[in-house]
């Protein structure tokens, strides 16, 4: 049995077996509006219970000017009737009707004009236009002329005829329940108990909903938070630090030589600010110059405290790892941080002057290179990359170094971050006696892979619709799929 609304059932009843009717009549019998009837008839039509025929009728109405001429005659008729025999054109032109009438008289062949004299031809039968002017409702052959002269307007009226179908009649014969329906369950209905008697109108549940959007966090933040959660689950403590760092913490403490190309102003954002060096900086200086107490030769040359004091926008988050280690030199230490880092790069789809970096370190007695690979493999697997491989890498402050790569369908092996064991030249000046496993990851690259982005700028200058559409859980799905 089909689920009809009360309105549909009532309309069907009004039509009756084999019946047909106009919406106006139905509306008056149902005590509703024509529009409502048409809407219900459409629904019956969709169910195959009724058909709705449409007919388009043209109605004509005279304009105020048309109405005037209907009473007095067309200007050319009025002017013609004022002429007795020939008359001078100049005289005739003084008549106020002349500008319209003279042309029409001539065109209709009612007068001839020769040598300034206007002479009636005597042939001036009533035209189709004059007929139409008197009976506009008939829309006779003269009507187009009147429309063109702006004496009448046309109105197109669609009329409907609703007819019940054989299926409709069958439905009716099965008996129709015409209990009253209500649209809204009100407090009154609930408390009075009347909800038992009334019938709640059924909704067409197949209709698509209105689209609303939730307030939500940014898709990129959700990815960053996923990584945070993984590291927290793996027992890491989160650290957080300042964007502005002295060169000492950003470079020197990490054994980056003072003449290293990455420290040049072409690559790093320098600030006209200086921060005093922490106590113990002399050990860093000594390690740079000659290796200090380690087996290292050091970089040789000179090391300038002033250069180390100058502030930069952090170029990596490793500056936080080393500061944390300097304050907590005793094992075990397992910390991570995620933060914006800054490189002096021109903006293009894959390069930005600022981007997020994730950084994690593990320092403990007896940890080794295999453990570093173990952490990396675990982390990337939890991020959804089942295939991880390791290749030799080079980073100024780690030795050995490794470049982890993940297998991405369609792209092959993709380098995703860098890792290694902090050089002894990095750890020794701060009294750190055990190996420090460290890795860093440019998260925006991962974001491009995970979100299928082609332009990194989308992360930071986002299209509101993109943020609205990206699902909070799982992968994107087109509406209606």
């Amino acid at each position: 049995m089909m689920d009809l609304t009360l309105n549909e059932k009532r309309l069907l009843s009004v039509l009756g077996s084999g019946g047909r009717s106009s919406p106006e009549e139905c509306a008056s019998r149902l005590g509703t509006t024509v529009d409502a009837v048409i809407q219900h008839a459409h629904l019956l039509h969709e169910r195959g219970l009724a058909v709705m025929d449409t007919a388009i009728e043209h109605h004509y109405h005279l304009t105020p000017e048309g109405k005037e001429y209907a009473a007095k005659g067309l200007p050319e008729r009025q002017l013609l009737e004022s002429i007795k025999g020939s008359v001078e054109l100049a005289t005739l032109s003084r008549n106020p009707l002349a500008p319209i009438a003279i042309g029409w008289m001539k065109r209709k062949g009612w007068v001839t004009i020769q040598k300034g004299m206007v002479t009636p031809t005597g042939k001036a039968p009533r035209g189709e236009d004059e007929e139409a002017l008197l009976h506009p409702e008939q829309g006779g052959p003269g009507m187009p002329q009147l429309l063109k002269r702006g004496l009448a307007t046309e109105e197109m009226v669609t009329t409907y005829t609703i007819a019940i179908t054989r299926e409709g009649t069958t439905y009716l014969s099965g008996g129709v329940d015409l209990t009253e329906e209500v649209g809204t369950l009100t407090r009154d209905l609930i408390v009075s108990g009347r909800w038992r008697e009334v019938k709640l109108r059924r909704y067409r549940v197949e209709t698509l909903p209105r689209r609303v959007f939730t307030g939500k966090s940014h898709p990129y933040h959700r990815l960053l938070d996923e990584m945070r959660q993984i590291l927290l689950h793996m027992g890491f403590t989160e650290i957080y630090g300042d964007i502005v760092q002295s060169s000492y913490w950003n470079f020197d403490a990490l054994f980056q030589p003072q003449d290293h190309p990455a420290r040049e102003m072409q690559d790093t954002f320098y600030l006209d600010r200086f921060q005093p060096l922490p106590s113990g900086w002399e050990k860093v200086q000594e390690t740079h110059i000659c290796g200090g107490t380690t087996s290292s030769t050091g970089w040789g040359g000179t090391w300038s405290p002033r250069k180390a004091e100058q502030c930069v926008l952090r170029t990596h988050t490793t500056c936080h790892s080393i500061q944390h280690l300097a304050r907590h030199p005793d094992p075990p230490v397992k910390v991570f941080t995620i933060g914006r880092v800054y490189r002096r790069e021109a903006i293009d789809p894959t390069h930005l002057p600022e981007f997020e970096q994730l950084e994690g370190i593990v320092m403990d007695e007896g940890v080794n290179f295999r453990h570093l690979l173990g952490f990396l493999k675990e982390f990337y697997e939890r991020m959804g990359f089942a295939n991880v491989r390791f290749r030799p890498g080079y980073f100024p402050y780690t030795e050995p170094s490794v470049e982890p790569e993940v297998w991405v369908k369609g792209l092959g092996w993709v380098e995703l971050g860098g890792a290694g064991i902090f050089r002894e030249e990095v750890t020794e000046p701060f009294g750190i006696r055990h190996p420090v496993l460290a890795w860093g990851l440019g998260v925006s690259r991962l974001a491009m892979l995970k979100m299928g982005l082609h332009d990194l700028r989308q992360l930071y200058r986002s299209d509101v619709d993109w943020v609205r559409e990206v699902p909070v859980y799982g992968s994107p799905r087109k509406g209606g799929d």
């Binding site: 307030g215 027992g235 989160e238 502005v244 941080t337 453990h371």
Partner: protein, 546 residues
């Protein structure tokens, strides 16, 4: 990092293997294949391995790595009898000189291009843009020893490469393309470095340009090498790398006497490494003999000695071996990173999130609960966006970048609201209402702290809406506040409030001023707020740990 062109035929001949095998092994040696062409591959090598910046150097390493020829390569050096003097006047200008004579070279056009490539890569990686080391390679035959490295008067003249007329040193710095490029390295000195022969003919004006006299062509058979610089170790590294590359190609190397010292020696240096320290760091169980064998395939000389020692001879071209761990890494590379079995350490720790993260996530949760959408704008911006467009006074704590890369990014943000208005500008064509927020770092002077900003753009956005939002935010942050009339010119007078916490201004909200809307290209009303999260009770501050 330098990308080196490796011609297949030459590489195959030097390595003694086919290109497919070579290309398959290269990545696990620590190189990125940038692209492969019909007759060559372009391969990127690390910044610490300048000895791999020539086909000869790569072939030498690969022969070891692929097991074709292992152990220390030796390079005999004969005395040439040629002497070179160094002017003490160069002490504060460019004091160090390295040199060598290279005989029996056979150069074609391709090998000259490759030689120039090596020279440029060394200038970058070892020479730090020619400041630390600059390299000159000369045709030895037209010049007469002994040679002299002088501090010369800038009015001295000679014909530089690619020119036909004599120019003074000063003119070269002003007119020669290389002179203009590298003038900054010498122009502030009263005298400039110059290399001349016994007849006062100019070989070179280091670190700028060689003379036309000693131009190297395909007809050149004997070379004189000069490397000058400010760091003796780097100067000698460059000599060693170039000489051994030529020796690999079949040339013979002869030494030169510089102030009574014979250079180069091309002899290895020695380190004794601990087997236990090496295996402990790598987490591999290897015997001293196994370690030695791996090191020989990385072209070291290596023999196990006693129970816990390997005596390692380091080839003279390995500039990167500063510390024992550098050698351990080569053991791991030779062992094969792909063979190392990853393992999780027994370290037991309990994780915890940072209180700042907890606070920021609480703000996110409140704001998204209020129906707002998160944005993550840049932290770099400019004073026009931060201040001018908002009709605000310049914040004295704003930090200008000394060398910004674009006009868009000249300072670090001191507030987030202006960047959120920019996000609205980008999204004017998107459906309204738009309720956006952003939470994160701002920087004043050198201190990073956090704020949250929120905007609402739609035809009925107003003071009351953001007042309610601000109130809900503060209540859920346990933050009691008062509101006072604000003077912030970014907002409409009479429709703006300062958020006071303990009598101190901690934020502002209200309806954005129409001039500000127009400055951002916005045509709908916008109501906004920004709150300094330092006002939140128990704000965790700048400590990096809980």
């Amino acid at each position: 990092m330098p990308v080196i062109t490796l011609p297949y035929r030459y590489l195959e001949e030097l390595v003694g293997s086919d290109r497919a095998t070579i290309l398959a092994r290269l990545p696990m040696f620590g190189a990125d294949i940038e692209r492969t062409e019909n007759d060559h591959a372009d391969v990127e090598f690390f910044a610490n391995r300048p000895d791999l910046y020539s086909t000869e150097g790569v072939a030498r390493a690969l022969r070891g790595f692929m097991g074709i020829e292992t152990g220390l390569p030796t390079y005999p050096v004969k005395r040439s009898g040629i002497t070179f003097t160094v002017d003490p006047g160069l002490k504060n200008i460019r004091p160090y000189l390295g040199s060598a004579v290279i005989r029996n070279v056979s150069l074609d056009e391709e090998s000259i291009v490759s030689l120039m490539g090596l020279q440029e890569a060394l200038h970058w990686a070892v020479g730090r843009g020619r400041g630390k080391v600059a390299i000159g390679i000369h045709n030895l035959d037209p010049i007469i020893p002994p040679f002299h490295y002088l501090a010369a008067d800038p009015s001295r003249s000679f014909i530089p490469l690619d020119f036909t007329r004599p120019m003074t040193l000063r003119e070269i710095l002003e007119e020669h393309p290389k002179g203009r490029e590298y003038a900054h390295l010498v122009k502030d000195f009263p005298r400039y470095p110059l290399i001349v022969d016994a007849h006062n003919q100019v070989l070179s004006f280091p670190p700028i340009i060689n003379g036309e006299l000693t131009r190297v062509t395909t007809a050149t058979r004997n070379l004189l090498l000069d490397t000058t610089g400010t760091d003796l170790r780097a100067v000698m590294t460059a000599v060693n790398i170039i000489c051994t590359a030529f020796a690999e190609a079949g040339a013979t190397i002869e030494s030169v006497t510089i102030d009574d010292v014979e250079v180069p020696s091309l002899a290895p240096s020695t380190r004794r490494i601990s087997t236990a320290a090496c295996t402990n760091l790598l987490g591999l169980s290897l015997t001293g003999e196994e370690i030695a064998s791996h090191l020989r395939s990385m072209r070291y000389g290596a023999t196990a000695s006693g129970t816990d020692e390997v005596v390692v001879q380091i080839p003279c071209y390995r500039a990167d071996i500063m510390h024992d761990w550098d050698i351990y890494e080569d053991v791991a590379i030779a062992y094969g990173y792909e063979r190392i079995v990853p393992a999780l350490p027994p370290t037991s720790t309990i994780g915890s999130e940072h209180p700042v993260s907890r606070l920021l996530n609480a703000v996110r949760s409140i704001m998204t609960g209020l129906g707002s959408l998160e944005m993550m704008p840049f932290t770099l911006t400019n004073e026009r966006v931060l201040f001018t467009s908002l009709q605000r006074e310049r914040d004295p704590g704003v930090l200008p970048l000394m060398h910004p890369i674009s006009e868009e990014h000249t300072v670090v943000r001191t507030a987030i609201l202006p960047l959120l208005l920019e996000e609205l500008t980008l999204n004017v064509h998107r459906a309204l209402p738009q309720r956006l927020f952003a939470v994160g770092d701002v920087v004043e002077e050198c201190v990073t702290h956090q704020t949250v900003a929120a905007v609402s753009m739609h035809s009925e956005a107003n003071f009351s809406e953001l007042y309610a939002t601000m109130d809900a935010l503060c209540r859920d942050l346990s933050l009691s506040y008062q509101v006072a009339v604000s003077e912030d010119p970014a907002f409409i007078e009479g429709r703006r409030g300062d958020i006071l916490v303990n009598g101190k201004r901690a934020g502002v909200f209200g309806e954005i001023h129409p001039s500000v809307l127009l400055a951002f290209g916005l045509e709908q009303p916008v109501a906004a707020l920004e709150l300094d999260l330092r006002a939140v009770p128990g704000y965790p501050g700048r400590q990096d740990t809980p």
